[in-house]
């Protein structure tokens, strides 16, 4: 038949073409052993802008081209590695911080790095607040060069934890280039010049190639001379590249990862280190949710293990009500507290607690109080995150079993943000967007009343509208000290707040997505050697990974 013949001819042509083409699925990069290809789906093509101060371009420039003063490892409780600064020291009352800047560092255009560049960088982001992504000038009062190789920063308030944002999260840019830019906020920076191990060479819509910086200050590094960073517009394609071995470093959410990825090759591995809590967020201004017993009942009723297995395919471990992410921050967890309060899965206890609060089961299966108010709530969720939608289905079923009715409202990203930040919701499901080298960073976001706002106004991170002056005092006392003893004591008390006041209900722990191929490369971060956050989108950690990798 003509049609079959035509299709046959097409197929044959295609097969022939497939055989001839160089992009074959089984070919591995044996010709270029010191190349690593990253698979991190961005949803769009590259714009070839590399400004380290532009939120969408930081992950492409900071770590590759730009470096911070100090590398702080959040997975090892803030272990520090000097980068552009060789040492640092806190001044009296922790109100000043002095860095000694490394000598002999050159930018990729050959010009030397001096303390003046550091001072310039910080003053640049002071002058243009839109560039201050980490908000360091909320605590700094001044930055200046002191001595021949030092920079001193003065604070307007004790803010020891801000060391992370100042030293690790602020990329140092060359003054001789950026001082000439008329509008740094809109500057796309297509040809970035920095002190980091790589240069951009070249960038197209479909792919960025990074080549080793010949002026890099660590001798012999980087071992990996070329990094390819293709632009993937869909998760499927990015995942497929990993499964066929064409990309070796993944930062992808891969469904059924064993069947899809690790079963294809014994050299394929993955590790998902937990970072922050994904929580059910009650609006504490809601009269029913303001009752702590209702929140307690919810915490008892949710089968966190099942949410983890079913909603998140087991990738995201169950969280605990104390809000401490384990195993990342296990050393901070006060186990005597958690066993005292014991919020493990217990639907019978949930019903008990509700009964003791005066709620009775109605004929429709929903608990109601004597005034006739039903425990029936809408919960907003991001419809785009299918794993969160699936998790919410499990949570809904869990709560239904104890008489609490949830109605999921799956919104778009923008609509969700608008509702959450303004407090226009009853329950929400979300996680904090920033991760730091200790549980303090996340807890502060949730619990500090400075981070909240009245309903209708935008809250910074305290979306549930929690406010307790005693908690604020605790948080400020942590910020004022460098003593780990004091810090642990404060965190224990914050755990007590989480367990007794339940401002939010952590359900599972969000993770870094990370896949790696050990066929030709070694030096990857692993659970036994967590020397940096392993996701390719984590900056500046990916620099540490790239510096550590080498061909077998």
């Amino acid at each position: 038949m003509r049609r079959l013949k035509a299709i046959g001819a097409l197929a044959a042509a295609g097969l022939l073409a497939a055989a001839c083409s160089s992009g074959s699925g089984t070919k591995s990069n044996t010709s270029a052993k010191s190349v690593v290809t990253i698979s991190n789906e961005n949803g769009a093509l590259w714009t070839c802008g590399f400004s380290p101060f532009n939120g969408s371009d930081t992950l492409l420039s900071v770590g590759f081209v730009y470096e911070p003063l100090v590398f702080v490892n959040p997975l090892q409780n803030g272990k520090t590695t000097p980068m552009l600064a060789t040492s640092w020291k806190w001044g009296a009352g922790n109100k000043s911080l002095t860095f000694t800047i490394r000598k002999g560092v050159k930018f990729s255009d050959g010009k030397p790095l001096t303390p003046a560049d550091v001072v310039f960088t910080f003053n640049l982001i002071k002058k243009y607040p839109a560039l201050d992504l980490a908000g360091v000038w909320s605590v700094l009062s001044g930055v200046s060069a002191t001595g021949s190789d030092q920079v001193t920063m003065t604070f307007n308030t004790a803010a020891v934890p801000f060391f992370y944002y100042i030293a690790d999260q602020t990329p140092i840019v060359p003054a001789h280039i950026w001082s000439k830019i008329a509008n740094p906020v809109t500057f796309t920076n297509a040809h970035p010049v920095g002190t980091g191990p790589y240069q951009v060479n070249p960038c197209t819509n479909a792919n960025i190639t990074y080549t080793a910086n010949p002026h890099y200050w660590q001798p012999g590094k980087p071992n990996i001379k070329k990094v390819e960073y293709p632009a993937y517009t869909s998760n499927n394609t990015a995942n497929d590249q990993l499964a066929t071995g064409q990309a070796q470093w993944g930062s992808q959410y891969i469904p059924a990862i064993k069947e899809f990825y690790t079963s294809k090759n014994p050299a394929f591995h993955y590790w998902f280190p937990p970072t922050v809590n994904v929580s059910l967020i009650p609006n504490l201004k809601n009269s029913l949710l303001a009752n702590v017993k209702v929140r307690q009942a919810m915490s008892y009723a949710i089968d966190r293990a099942k949410v983890s297995t079913i909603g998140e395919s087991g990738y995201e471990p169950p969280a605990n009500q104390a809000g401490i992410v384990t195993p990342t921050f296990t050393s901070w967890l006060d186990t005597s507290l958690t066993s005292k309060y014991n919020y493990s899965y217990n639907p019978a206890k949930a019903k008990q607690v509700l009964a003791s609060a005066g709620f009775k089961m109605g004929s429709d299966g929903i608990m109601a109080n004597s005034a006739g108010q039903k425990l029936s709530f809408s919960v907003i969720n991001i419809g785009d995150y299918s794993d969160w939608v699936a998790s919410m289905q499990v949570i809904t079923q869990n709560l239904k079993a104890v008489g609490i009715a949830l109605k999921p409202d799956n919104l778009t990203n923008t609509a969700f943000d608008a509702a959450l930040y303004a407090g226009k919701y009853q329950l929400a499901y979300y996680d904090q967007q920033t991760f730091g080298p200790g549980p303090y960073y996340e807890l502060r976001n949730w619990l500090d009343s400075a981070n909240t706002a009245p309903i209708g106004k935008l809250a910074a991170s305290n979306f549930e509208r929690y406010s307790n002056p005693a908690t604020d005092t605790l948080i400020h006392s942590y910020a004022a000290t460098t003593s780990t003893v004091v810090q642990h004591s404060v965190v224990n008390q914050l755990e007590q707040v989480m367990l007794s006041e339940l401002p939010i209900i952590p359900v599972v722990e969000a993770v870094d997505w990370y896949q790696y191929d050990t066929s030709n490369l070694t030096g990857w971060p692993t659970p036994s050697n967590p020397y940096a956050q392993p996701a390719a989108y984590a900056y500046p950690d990916m620099e540490q990974v790239l510096l550590n990798l080498k061909a077998k």
């Binding site: 891969i254 469904p255 059924a256 079913i310 299918s386 939608v389 699936a390 289905q393 499990v394 079923q397």
Partner: protein
């Protein structure tokens, strides 16, 4: 895709399906339906289509009888293969796939029938009004129909659903109804036009019947066959478009439906992780339901235009 391209039923100049030759009295609607019933039974395509459709309707009416598991409860081990306990296996969330398929039938059929009926209703209204009222009405309604006919429907649906950022089944039905009536409206208008000059209508007007009466009692029953065919077309496209929208994530992912099963299967890379049934089975059901509607539609075409019927080889009796 129009099932049979330019339908030969209802073209100007053609004999309408159940209309008599000029001058003879028109049989009442009930007889027309009875004749249709006989025609369905004798036509193989129609029978297959009817049987399929009836099967789906039965399943949607009594889902609990056929599938004992709850479709939404994440009650089982995830990613099990087919077995006697789970006929099609379980999804990545531990739900019984067969139960989802069975319970999802309801949502699909509701969309098919409600959207199909509503769309056909609008099409009949617009098509017959344009033909019978003529003049300015005909001109403007025809232009409206033609414009909507030409604007590509699926992109329009995507844009509307995109602004609404998805929605419940009701929103889907509403959006489908408002946009997809133009093709069948055109066909109905053609046939109504061909009836306009008919004697039986002239007779009714001379009798003094009102226009509305003539439309409702004389014209529309004569067009029963085409109206049924239109309903089948509209139901088919309602199913295909609605499932497509749900598949790409513009429906409500928490409803039980074949399209949403496909959405979840896609999100979990079902094909690539050894769970092909999760994607193939709901698609096959959509195809089967679509085929039922399409077969019935095609059969109605054949009933209307005898020339299209399959030729049966006549055995020629030889004189002995």
């Amino acid at each position: 895709m129009p099932i049979s391209g330019v339908s030969t039923v209802g073209q100007p100049g053609q004999e309408p399906a159940t209309g008599p030759a000029a001058g003879l009295p028109v049989p009442p609607a009930t007889h027309a339906l009875a004749r249709m019933g006989r025609a369905v039974r004798s036509n193989r395509k129609a029978t297959t289509g009817t049987v399929l459709l009836a099967a789906f309707i039965l399943v949607s009416l009594f889902p609990g009888v056929i599938a004992h598991d709850s479709p939404s409860a994440d009650a089982y081990s995830p990613r099990l293969g087919p077995s006697t306990a789970h006929l099609l296996g379980t999804t990545a969330y531990g739900q019984d796939m067969f139960a989802q398929l069975v319970w999802g039938t309801r949502n699909v059929l509701i969309i098919a029938f409600v959207a199909g009926l509503a769309t056909t209703g609008i099409a009949v209204l617009v098509g017959v009004a344009a033909a019978y009222l003529g003049g300015w009405w005909d001109g403007s309604l025809s232009v409206l129909t033609d414009v909507l006919l030409v604007i590509p429907l699926f992109p329009l649906l995507i844009v509307i659903a995109g602004y609404a950022q998805g929605g419940s089944t009701l929103v889907l039905i509403l959006v489908l109804t408002v946009t997809s009536w133009s093709y069948t409206a055109r066909q109905l208008r053609s046939q109504a036009l061909s009836l306009r000059g008919r004697d039986f209508l002239e007779a009714a007007r001379v009798r003094g019947e009102r226009r509305l009466y003539i439309i409702m009692v004389e014209i529309i029953p004569t067009m029963t066959s085409l109206i049924v065919a239109s309903f089948l077309t509209n139901a088919l496209y309602a199913v295909l478009f609605a499932s497509s929208l749900q598949y790409i994530g513009l429906g409500d992912p928490n409803t039980e439906s074949w399209g949403t099963m496909l959405y979840w299967a896609q999100n979990n890379a079902a094909l690539q992780t050894g769970q092909p049934l999760w994607a193939i089975a709901p698609g096959a059901c959509i195809a089967a339901l679509g085929a039922a509607f399409a077969l019935l539609n095609y059969a109605f075409d054949e009933i209307g235009n005898p020339a299209l019927r399959p030729m049966r080889r006549r055995r020629i009796k030889r004189a002995s």
